[in-house]
């Protein structure tokens, strides 16, 4: 048996995810994200293993993965910088910003710096129009970005000052419940109950506050 490309804990999580669905194939995209979280991009070895896990061919995994912008089937840099060029951002200087980014990083859109740190790409709407022009680094938002602001973000990333905000590429969620997907139903019910109670309490406090304000 050859060594699995996915690390044992990743493989265990992958199996848990597959078990969530009536059809293993439904787990395809979550597994692609999982593999991307491990490697930063979707390596062919990972796609071949995913194919086996969900019972389809590697060509079908590649077919699906290559459709989606958030899944990278070619190697990317440590930081994937995605600039929005849709209408709101465009009106607020997105193309000028993109041009500046290309100059500043010394690469064309869609490519990676020689040191392998930055990949620059453009995107349609990133849904942060209120802070246009916006960009994402490894799927974390930065809004109202000016050319100078862009250079600062790049400097901060290089210097590691944004390490807390910007995780490793491929990471979707940084917090995971203890026990992963195997958590007992009672625990989840208890958590949900606690959350509901907290929400109710906050609502009550807010209501009381607004009542107090109205009264006086």
């Amino acid at each position: 048996m050859t060594q699995s490309h996915l690390a044992p804990e990743v493989m265990a999580r992958a199996r848990d995810i597959v078990a969530l669905y009536p059809h293993p194939r439904s787990a395809l995209i979550p597994l692609c994200h999982l593999a991307q979280e491990q490697d930063g991009w979707l390596r062919p070895e990972a796609m071949a293993e995913i194919a086996e896990l969900v019972g389809i061919t590697p060509a079908e995994v590649l077919g699906t993965a290559s459709f989606y912008d958030m899944l990278h089937t070619e190697e990317v840099g440590t930081y994937v910088v995605t600039l929005c060029t849709n209408i709101a951002c465009m009106l607020r200087g997105a193309y000028e910003l993109l041009h500046h980014a290309e100059e500043s990083l010394g690469i064309r859109t869609g490519s990676t710096t020689a040191d392998g740190v930055f990949t620059l790409e453009d995107a349609e709407c990133l849904a942060d129009c209120g802070r246009a022009p916006c960009l994402q680094v490894n799927h974390r938002f930065f809004g109202d970005v000016s050319p100078e602001g862009f250079d600062k973000i790049v400097d901060d990333l290089r210097a590691g000052r944004l390490a807390d905000e910007v995780p490793h590429h491929g990471t979707l969620v940084r917090t995971e419940r203890d026990g992963g997907l195997r958590v007992e139903a009672e625990t989840i019910t208890a958590e949900r109950r606690a959350t509901a109670a907290a929400m109710a309490e906050r609502a009550a406090t807010a209501a009381a506050a607004s009542e107090a304000k109205a009264n006086g």
């Binding site: 590697p58 590649l62 290559s66």
Partner: protein
């Protein structure tokens, strides 16, 4: 007799009640259509061709190219709807020629041409291209597009056989859907998105499907081209006939196209009861072997141990003189005829008559010890391919279907996957059927009959079988019905390393346990079924009649028949080796490559006093013959062939054979004359008339019947067992150039496909009808019926130091046809020895390490391969592959005298 039943069929249409119809109008004409049928198919049958790209009658509709938009009136007024995706409905009003439709067609075609390179002058598809044709017929004529087109590297190989030109692709998805839906091997898929969508493979994994050539055939543009055909011809220069592929015994119908007396390509024809428009890559591409430079073109005679060219007169004289001398010296029974499975029915009949009536020997065998006892083959109650695919339970006890009868695999897979037919696989190793089988029951080599008896009687689960698989198998069989009604067994030879009689014994056990079960015989070699029907088997005469039952009838017809039952292939080779037999004529037979026991085959050929080879190539066996006679081969002869279900279909000659090649029947006829006999036939057609006259199983299948247009898919013999059900082609007029390319267009234009044209006049009377001949009425002998005695040899006790050998076959082998086809020769894998990881670990051997395999016969060193699906104590070596130049690795180990072959695995 009843009128011929014309079956209508919609490949993959929405499910509806059979026979229900709806009334509707298309372009103002009233049309009656089958309920649930797709509009595009209903319109086509009513004579209205709706243009299309993605729609293919044998694939599921997806409605993605939008070329077939038509105006359909509905509650919201007339709207544009895709005709390939909308089912007909009562009262539907359809308009296919309105301005709105025309505008939609203009738009679709303009968009498809935005990125299409229009490199028609250098494109293989030019001249037969649906895009070209439909742009001309339905397109806007001008494009508003001025920008630079999308560019890709071109062409890129996606396998040894298929080249991809992404610029030409219009994303209809036919290839992707074929690979996924029909072949079940989604090795190609759409990659990317938007204007950068491409069809491609996963990096490093070629499109290695055995069915890849079909994607080239159904590609409506030149995006997929076949490397053997690329740039070899223009379609308007090709000449074509419709014929049957005989590279295996499934009998796919194909359009055979040639240019300047060379085969250029084969295209699958849509024969509903058989291949449903598909071909395998071996059938499609190995046809090229006919053109090979190393064909035999003149007779050869061995002089001073060298084969030297000779004249036909000289060679035939020598053969007749030597056979005559040996017959006088040692008796007729010392002469043997091997082979015949590569011949047409007529050729086989001529050779059977020569051997049995003129020479007087019954030691005649078309099978090379790798099939089943001939009496079992002819006597078992038969099922057709369609019946097998509609069985309530389909049992498969055969070699790997995808390797041996590839298009049968497609039919069985479709039955299991699309129609939920339960498939119970009984096999000594897992194979292509395992993936979709309801139950897959592993049996130890030689133990199939024992397993069947236990399964049928509710016996204990054998230790080697997983209990879950066992109970699933038992349940599927039980549900099929009492007495096994509804069970169809695909019966073949799972492994040539176990005696064929053991498989026959398993068949007997099944026939006893399930008396109403029927069998589809998965014998693989070309026209083996026809050769057996024509009497090229020991103990049989033409018409599936035993020597004893047919004696008086054939003595009258032929003058004489052999006194007693002769030997089969193994017996012949043993007789030649020990001197009890003297001469062998190999008619398109190569025992050195094909007989399971290579040692015995070698001893037999070496021990023979006189060896004659009649062949198209100087095969390994022919190279050791005393006289070699060059014969015409596939596509160089006419006649008929018989497939696994007994379907007799017509072969059409396309090429003139090279050099001095003769048809096999003519060689038999000349030899008969020189041996003092007379076959009494002057042509292929006369031979067929005689077959119809003397062969009980072929009564009523006259030339008029065979040549009728509605019998183009062939006719199952005997007529009585399967009343004349003549099926209509999927695509009636007008011709759809994409669904069934090639020949149909010629015929739809009114050219008669061939002479004749009479409809069948009689479907009754097989069995006991009196025939008139020689002014005398004689009752026809009865064809053999089940049960037949089966002599299964006892199994030796397993030896704890040995493993039992399993030996199946691969499609791409080291045979002469694949070897003579450049594109396929590169795909032949080397032989390996596969075993359970535990058995290899015991030896301290890993994957790829050399292992010495030793049997009582010999030994060979092969690379080890791990196969977790094999049970422990079993090793598997594919029969028809070689390693390091040693021909037929498994043949060196197999001992045909043993029921099973035990081998030891050693470190070398």
């Amino acid at each position: 007799m009843a009128d011929p039943v014309i079956t209508s069929h919609h490949a993959i249409a929405p499910h509806t009640e059979e026979g229900a119809t709806v009334e509707m109008t298309i372009d103002g004409r009233a049309v009656v259509a089958g309920a649930g049928e797709f509009l595009i198919a209903a319109a086509e049958r009513a004579g209205v061709f709706i243009p299309r790209f993605c729609y293919h009658p044998r694939l599921r509709s997806v409605g993605m190219c939008r070329m077939c938009l038509v105006e359909v009136s509905g509650p919201r007024g007339a709207t544009l709807q895709p005709a390939c995706y909308v089912a007909v409905a009562e009262g539907m009003e359809v308009v296919t020629t309105s301005d709105k439709v025309k505008k939609a067609q203009d738009g679709v075609l303009e968009m498809l041409l935005v990125n299409h390179p229009l490199d028609c002058p250098v494109c293989d598809k030019g001249g037969e291209c649906p895009l070209q044709d439909q742009v001309l017929a339905y397109g806007p004529g001008e494009s508003r597009f001025l920008e630079e087109k999308r560019h890709w590297a071109k062409p890129t190989p996606i396998s040894e056989l298929v080249l991809l030109d992404r610029e030409r692709c219009i994303q209809c998805g036919r290839c992707v859907r074929f690979a996924n839906e029909v072949a079940g091997e989604a090795q190609i898929d759409f990659l990317g998105r938007g204007d950068m969508v491409e069809v491609n493979v996963f990096e490093g994994q070629a499109f290695s499907s055995y069915f890849s050539g079909n994607t080239v055939q159904i590609c409506p543009v030149g995006a997929l081209t076949a490397s053997p055909y690329r740039f070899t011809a223009r379609p308007w220069d090709l000449d074509q006939v419709e014929s049957t592929c005989t590279l295996c015994a499934f009998g796919c119908r194909a359009a055979v196209q040639s240019s300047a007396n060379r085969i250029t390509r084969l295209l699958g024809m849509d024969s509903d009861p058989v291949n449903q428009s598909w071909l395998c890559d071996k059938g499609r591409f190995a046809s090229e072997a006919v053109n090979a430079e190393n064909r035999l073109t003149e007779p050869l005679i061995r002089r001073n141990d060298i084969l030297e060219p000779a004249s036909w007169g000289e060679a035939l004289e020598l053969v007749a003189r030597r056979l005559g001398e040996l017959r006088t010296a040692k008796g007729a029974s010392a002469i043997a005829v091997m082979g015949g499975a590569r011949l047409s029915n007529e050729d086989a009949y001529a050779w059977a008559k020569l051997a049995k009536a003129v020479i007087g020997t019954d030691s005649v065998d078309a099978q090379m010890g790798d099939g089943l006892p001939a009496e079992v083959v002819v006597a078992l109650p038969r099922a057709t391919i369609d019946e097998a695919c509609k069985a309530r339970c389909l049992v498969v006890l055969a070699g790997d279907l995808r390797e041996e009868l590839p298009v049968l695999f497609l039919r069985v897979r479709s039955a299991a996957v699309d129609d939920a037919v339960p498939v119970v696989e009984l096999a000594p190793q897992s194979g292509s059927v395992t993936g979709f089988a309801t139950a897959s029951v592993a049996y130890g080599p030689g133990e199939a009959a024992e397993l069947v008896r236990a399964l049928a009687t509710g016996g204990a689960v054998p230790a080697t079988v997983e209990p879950a698989q066992w109970s699933a198998a038992a349940e599927a069989l039980h549900r099929a019905g009492t007495d096994g009604e509804g069970i169809v067994v695909i019966l073949g030879r799972p492994s040539v390393a176990e005696d064929g009689a053991l498989v026959a014994d398993a068949a007997a056990a099944m026939a006893a346990a399930w008396p109403a079960a029927r069998f589809l015989l998965a014998l693989r070699r070309g026209n083996v079924m026809g050769a057996i029907d024509m009497g090229l088997a020991p103990g049989l005469l033409p018409g599936r009649v035993s020597l004893d039952d047919g004696r008086s009838f054939f003595e009258e017809q032929w003058g004489s028949v052999p006194a007693g039952r002769g030997r089969d292939a193994a017996g012949i080779l043993e007789g030649l080796a020990d001197g009890t037999m003297a001469a062998v004529v190999m008619v398109g037979a190569d025992p050195l490559s094909d007989f399971p026991d290579g040692t015995l085959a070698g001893d037999g050929i070496a021990g023979a006093d006189f060896v004659v080879a009649v062949d198209g190539f100087l095969s390994r066996s022919a190279a050791r013959a005393d006289v070699v006679l060059p014969a015409s081969i596939v596509y160089e002869r006419s006649g008929t062939t018989t497939n696994i279900e007994g379907r007799v279909s017509r072969l059409s000659q396309k090429l003139v054979a090279p050099g001095q090649c003769w048809p096999d029947w003519m060689i038999a006829s000349e030899l008969a004359a020189r041996l003092g006999g007379d076959l009494g036939v002057e042509s292929m057609t006369e031979i067929w008339d005689e077959i119809e006259k003397v062969a009980t199983s072929h009564t009523g299948i006259t030339r008029a019947v065979l040549e009728s247009l509605s019998a183009r898919d062939g006719i199952i013999a005997p007529l009585a067992a399967s009343p004349v059900t003549l099926s209509r082609r999927l695509s009636p007029e007008p011709f759809d150039p994409m669904a069934t390319p090639g020949i149909e267009s010629v015929e739809a234009q009114g050219a008669p496909p061939r002479s004749g044209g009479a409809e069948p006049t009689s479907g009754e009377g097989a069995g006991h009808t009196a025939v008139s001949g020689h002014g005398h009425q004689a009752p026809r002998p009865r064809s053999l019926r089940w049960p037949q005695p089966v002599a299964a040899p006892p199994l030796p006790a397993p030896d704890s130091y040995s493993v039992r050998l399993v030996s199946g076959r691969r499609l791409y082998d080291d045979g002469v046809l694949v070897g003579a086809t450049d594109a396929l020769a590169a795909l032949v894998a080397p032989a390996t020895v596969r075993a359970h990881p535990h058995d290899l670990e015991k030896l301290g051997v890993g994957a790829g390490d050399p292992v010495r395999v030793r049997s009582a016969r010999g030994d060979i060193v092969l690379d080890a391969a791990i196969d977790e699906s094999l049970p422990r104590g079993v090793a598997s070596i594919d029969f028809n592959l070689s390693a390091d130049g040693a021909v037929g690795a498994a043949a060196l180990l197999i001992d045909s005298r043993e029921a099973v072959v035990d081998v030891r695995l050693e470190t070398p």
